[in-house]
């Protein structure tokens, strides 16, 4: 009797609640536990503890890690200097991206410059390619025999020896990252500006306001909330950036938060690494909460887009040509320039010799030659690189596929169960990985899965671990895509099927999935692209069996096989740009 009732209950239970709780439990394990493990580990001695403190025992409770990092003798170089560097980088790059991105957006949306659609497409590229693309090109231009080993472009062609601060450190990092985030502001401001009803500006025009006055008193105040939100989000992303800072900072021991965490964890100084990671997570969380507060309290300006009226373009007059030239210059120097330069480098037998005699396709197709690159065969002959390409594609594919399914399930649960505890729990859990910087996230998974964790076997060194970490880290995006897709499906469409007594499995297959397909597909493709170019998340987790394209670039750069790195880099860029082209074909958008 009782059994019968339970069975009946189960059959009537809403399936989304069932899988909702399953997902919630899984998320708690994959998101919450790592943070707790990290907190715990920060309060015990790591394997190095006994070496550093007399009488210390590995695993014993201690405040040593926190004390050493925050107040100890070494706290300056360990925490404060890197933290300061990170802050300065975040401020600098955000400022650059904000000014350039907003200016370009205004010009493209509101003024009468030519080639608008070309600009709109091309100005997105720096955000699609890995954030450290410009960084790599930068080194190959500015390095010299004095710093960085082989001569760079300037050194080889013009004999210039650029000073060290121009090759490595703050200036190049800020510029490289700034360029990467220009499209972020460009896309965001383009949307904000396009949403402003031009009648708001026309009303002012009728009241004798000059163009400058309209800009300062009407347009700017209305896009200010968007600028503020963009600033805070970019700033918090900048704090956790890894690749650029590793390429342009590590060679001169210029450390930031993320590179400090990286070097602590690779040197197995786990206590120290986790303290730093926790401080970074707390900082990022604080900034994101601040952002929520600012956006939450701010009046959102509802602007109705102009009905039937053609949006008027502002005539730039004598500024038209200079502005066009500036945008073209930016595109040539920072978008096509780096790609072209990386390409040229891969066909130069000896680095830094810019002549036709030096042309070779060895780095692409050549076999092993002991005279070139210590016998490293060319990319397509190189089993390490070919494995890495296969692994990267496999990883990105698996991540995209699983994320898409998980996203749609989460979306269904959250939208159907609006305002229930389960929905809120899942929403918060899926957002949490956003707050944890990639290096730290990889670091925790490294510790958690290095040995058996409860019933789960050691996953370190397996492909599965990479898939899990990528899925979880990208959850904030996958689930919000799923939620959006679900919101767009009118509940009555499914309710009709419920009334007809159609079971949830059929409903899901025949109604929900076909309707949500478009949104989920573009989310999958974006996940694919993001996974292809991820470095910080996986750098601590890859092993010789699971090398990825990004980790190959990182290792080869450190070992001086630059042509190979540049070649693989170009392959990644080729893949992500193709992915993006397909994405725009199916109507998706770049994720901000």
């Amino acid at each position: 009797m009782q059994l019968k009732q339970t069975a009946l209950k189960l059959r009537n239970a809403k399936p989304e609640v069932l899988w909702g709780w399953l997902i919630a439990l899984l998320l708690m394990f994959l998101v919450l536990t790592p943070v707790l493990v990290m907190v715990f580990k920060s309060f015990v001695f790591d394997a190095n503890g006994p070496r550093m403190v007399r009488g210390a025992e590995e695993g014993a409770f201690t405040l040593f890690n926190w004390a050493r990092t925050t107040t100890g003798e070494l706290s300056g170089p360990l925490l404060y200097q890197p933290a300061l560097n990170s802050l300065a980088i975040a401020v600098g790059m955000t400022a650059i991206a904000l000014v350039i991105g907003s200016l370009f957006a205004w010009i493209v949306v509101r003024s009468d410059v030519p080639c608008k659609s070309f600009f709109s497409v091309v100005l997105i590229i720096p955000y699609i390619v890995p954030s450290w693309t410009v960084a790599m090109a930068w080194i190959s231009i500015f390095k010299s025999e004095q710093y960085g080993g082989t001569p760079g472009f300037l050194n080889a062609v013009f004999g210039i020896n650029p000073p060290q601060w121009l090759i490595f450190g703050y200036i190049p990092i800020v510029i490289s990252l700034g360029v990467h985030y220009v499209p972020y502001f460009f896309i965001m401001m383009r949307g904000a500006l396009a949403n402003i009803d031009s009648r708001l500006e026309e009303s002012a025009e009728l009241l004798q306001a000059s163009k400058l006055e309209i800009m300062m008193k009407i347009t700017l105040p209305m896009v200010l909330p968007a600028i503020g939100a963009g600033f805070i989000l970019t700033f918090s992303k900048g704090l956790g950036e890894f690749g650029t800072q590793a390429f342009l900072g590590l060679p001169i021991r210029y450390y930031t938060f993320s590179t400090r965490i990286y070097s602590a964890l690779t040197n197995q100084l786990y206590g120290e690494g986790y303290v730093l990671a926790l401080i970074l997570i707390i900082t990022t969380t604080f900034i994101v909460i601040l952002n929520q507060m600012v956006i939450g309290t701010r009046k959102r300006y509802v602007t109705i887009s102009g009905k039937g009226s053609v949006k008027k373009q502002i005539e730039l007059g004598k500024w038209r040509m200079p502005m066009t030239v500036i945008i073209f210059a930016f595109i040539i120097i920072f978008v096509f320039g780096p790609l072209l330069l990386l390409g040229i480098q891969t066909v130069m037998e000896t680095e830094g010799v810019y002549s036709l005699d030096n042309f070779t396709l060895h780095y692409w197709f050549g076999g092993s030659d002991p005279d070139i690159a210590m016998g490293q065969p060319g990319i397509f002959q190189n089993s390490v690189i070919m494995d890495a390409i296969w692994n990267s594609l496999r990883l990105a594919g698996a991540t995209a596929l699983i994320s898409g399914v998980v996203g749609i399930l989460i979306g269904y649960t959250v939208v159907k169960g609006r305002k229930t505890i389960l929905a809120k729990l899942i929403e918060n859990l899926t957002f949490a990985p956003y707050l944890i910087p990639g290096v730290a996230f990889g670091g925790i998974y490294l510790t958690m899965f290095a040995k058996n964790f409860g019933p789960i076997p050691s996953l370190y060194g397996t492909f599965a671990l990479l898939v899990i970490v990528c899925i979880v880290k990208h959850l904030p995006f996958s689930s919000s895509a799923g939620i959006t897709a679900m919101h767009q499906i009118d509940p009555s469409l499914e309710e009709v099927a419920v009334v007809h007594g159609i079971g949830w499995g059929t409903r899901f297959r025949k109604i929900i999935f076909p309707l949500a397909k478009g949104g989920v597909l573009s989310a999958m493709l974006l996940n694919f692209i993001t996974t292809m170019r991820t470095l910080d998340l996986v750098i601590l987790l890859v092993t010789p069996n699971t090398t990825l394209m990004t980790s190959v670039i990182f290792r080869y750069t450190q070992q001086g096989f630059l042509q190979h790195s540049y070649g693989v880099m170009l392959l990644i860029i080729f893949i992500v740009i193709s992915g993006h082209l397909i994405l725009s074909k199916i109507g998706g958008k770049v994720e901000l």
Binding site: L200, A204, L206, Q208, S309
Partner: protein, 372 residues
């Protein structure tokens, strides 16, 4: 004496003409409405006058001042034309309070601050907004927002008031109320007003003069009475219908002193016209326009080729749908409820047209009107 003059005004968007060589004169102090379906060029004409759009050709004059002339290369900036404009969506600046919105127009006026303050207080009082000076637009209802937009326009005392469908975002009740306020406002300010709308009721209620437009051209200029009762062509007759007018194809037959209307599709169904339809040659292919309220229904037991198809009481009046027995002909009649209480469904009826217009079916132009 005309005040505003458009001479051969042309405006194109990407080579597609929106306004085609319009010539128009408007008298000082008049309330004029541009009426027409969407895409007829009414808003574009208004925006050309305001200076927000630059025409491709033609001239615009206000009084003895030329605002725009392609030939002379004159184009006075929008801000210097001395006119005010209210948009359909009000276009209130969301980041400014009601007071700041209104004060923006006064910032260039060279008068002491306390006088500006006084002007703002006065206009707020006049619009019944005294309590809302420190509110932001999104904290106001649609009707209140509309009043703020009006206040922002009139505080500068512009010589010409322009309205671009200012009431279409409001619900029916509020629209009625604001309509009477607008009329009152025009009366007190005495400023020449140009009003753009696609709602013929609004146009009839507000205007001294209605300009009916279609596809960038003016179809008819006239008083509300003229446009409603003496439409110059089928388009105007059709557009002015409310809820709908009866446009029927047929011929006119004369029997003694009486004129009859005979349907093309059904020459047994004839309808008596009260009044004379002189000037129509017998057998000419015409379209007749009779409004539902101008149809007289007589019940009959025998004969009669029409019957009552449906009856819709609407409170103050009744809508009666009549069909021909043979099929193919539909006529809508409307009248005070009390007059039609006796009418039953399916009953045979005889029809009489009290008033209407006759159009040449080929050209669509008016031939004559009749009225009993």
């Amino acid at each position: 004496m005309s005040f505003i003059r458009f001479k051969k005004l042309v405006k194109e968007y990407n080579g597609i003409p929106a306004v085609k060589e319009i010539d128009l004169e408007i008298k000082e102090g008049e309330f004029v409405t541009f009426l027409g379906p969407s895409g007829c060029g009414k808003t574009t004409t208004l925006r050309c006058l305001s200076g927000l759009e630059t025409p491709e050709n033609g001239e615009i004059w206000v009084g003895d001042k030329c605002l725009f002339s392609k030939k002379e290369g004159i184009n006075v900036p929008a801000g210097n034309r001395g006119l005010g404009l209210v948009f359909q969506n009000y276009a209130l600046w969301p980041h400014m309070t009601v007071e700041q919105n209104i004060a923006f127009g006064l910032r260039k006026m060279k008068v002491p601050d306390n006088i500006k303050k006084e002007k703002i207080v006065n206009v707020l009082n006049a619009m019944g907004l005294q309590k809302f000076g420190y509110r932001y637009p999104h904290e106001l209802s649609g009707g209140q927002q509309q009043r703020v937009a009006l206040a922002r326009m009139v505080v500068n005392e512009p010589g010409i008031l322009l309205f671009d469908e200012p009431l279409s975002n409001l619900d029916a009740k509020l629209r009625m109320k604001l309509r009477s306020e607008l009329k009152r406002l025009h009366r007190t300010l005495g400023a020449t007003s140009i009003y753009v709308t696609h709602d013929q009721v609004e146009a009839l209620a507000l205007s001294d003069k209605i300009i009916v437009m279609k596809e960038g051209e003016i179809e008819q200029i006239g008083t509300p009475y003229e446009v409603y009762h003496e439409p110059v062509n089928i388009f105007v007759a059709d557009f002015m219908g409310n809820p709908e007018t009866n446009l029927l194809n047929g011929k006119i037959k004369t029997a003694g002193e009486q004129h009859y209307f005979v349907f093309d599709d059904d020459n047994e169904s004839t309808i008596l016209l009260s009044g004379r339809a002189d000037g129509v040659s017998e057998g000419k292919e015409i379209t007749i326009n009779t409004r539902p309220e101008d149809i007289i229904i007589n019940q009959t037991d025998d004969g009669g080729t029409f019957y009552v198809y449906s009856i819709q009481p609407m409170g103050s009046e009744m809508l009666i749908h009549i069909k021909s027995k043979k099929g193919g002909i539909d006529v809508i009649a409307k009248g005070p409820e009390d007059d039609y209480l006796a009418i039953k469904l399916e009953q045979n009826v005889l029809l009489k047209f009290k008033r209407g217009n006759i159009f040449d079916r080929k050209t669509g132009e008016s031939v004559c009107s009749f009225k009993g």
